[in-house]
Amino acid sequence: MSDRPGDAIRALVAGHADFATGLVSAVELISGRGGVLMPIEVAGLCGADIEELLARTLAHSDVRVIFTDLQAGSCTMAARRVQRSMPGVVLVAGANLPMLLDFALSSEPDLAVAAVSAAEKGRASVNVFGGAA
């Protein structure tokens, strides 16, 4: 992660296997702003422990945005549970690299707005080249 001044953590990233660390390292490599994203390691944890980890991490910071991978994934499920007790939390499921880059580089001060904008960017960045006509 970046140690640049001003790179306060703005969102958590959680998902299967090395999804979070991989994407955050890619954001860092491309933008130099990986430090605004905190990867959450969940290997070996049950759903309740993932929920507790997310809630504890949010409680000890000002972060209110979570990016996850699969909508059916246990990190998404855990984050949805966290939202029940922390209604201000924004969850974006289905995160991809263009989405996280957009969020990391955003100058939007309202991070909830930045998350919604990044989600649109990520959705629009999927293209298919070649294949069956």
């Binding site: 290997a43 070996g44 049950c46 909508q71 059916a72 949805r80």
Partner: protein
């Protein structure tokens, strides 16, 4: 078709179930047996949110489920049974006709020892799995279809360093 998988997984419905097993087995419905989820509309909506539209989720308490499983096994489409703990699966082995048990995910908790990357057990939980086998169920551990099904004796003998 029938219930093609009877799974113990403390994460209940998640990526491995919906995508890992669901897609290759063309699963059309998931039977989620959990007393807490069965009593909560919010919990049910949470799990419904995680599955694609072509996959149905049916929620039951353990008592409900014992009466429904035979009918589910006679359906034309394949389905998956998921419970969150060994005790619920024992109920369904004793009263619901379950004969094959997949240990798909019992994760880290204080007091549990790691046996596989995705299976952590206390001593009583080890005994509870042995009891399932003594009741006539074939118990194996397997997180995804591409992995090897680990027999119960091998699972209980295995120790991994976290």
């Amino acid at each position: 078709m029938t219930l093609v998988l009877n799974r113990i997984d403390d994460r209940l419905i998640h990526g491995q179930v919906v995508v890992g097993w669901g897609q290759p087995l063309d699963v059309r419905f998931i039977v989620l047996v959990d007393d807490t989820v069965a009593a909560s509309d919010w919990e049910q909506e949470l799990y419904r949110m995680g599955v694609p539209p072509e996959m149905e989720v049916r929620f039951h308490s353990a008592l409900d489920a014992e009466r429904c499983l035979d009918a589910y096994r006679r359906e034309a489409a394949p389905g998956i049974l998921v419970v969150g703990d060994i005790a619920t699966m024992r109920h369904l082995v004793e009263r619901g006709g379950v004969r094959e048990v997949n240990v798909g995910g019992i994760h880290h908790r204080v007091g549990r020892v790691q046996h596989l990357r995705y299976v952590f057990l206390t001593e009583p939980e080890q005994e509870a799995l042995r009891d399932l086998a003594a009741l006539g169920a074939t118990v194996t551990a397997q997180d995804v279809p591409a992995a090897r099904a680990v027999p119960l004796d091998e699972l209980l003998a295995a120790r991994e360093i976290a």
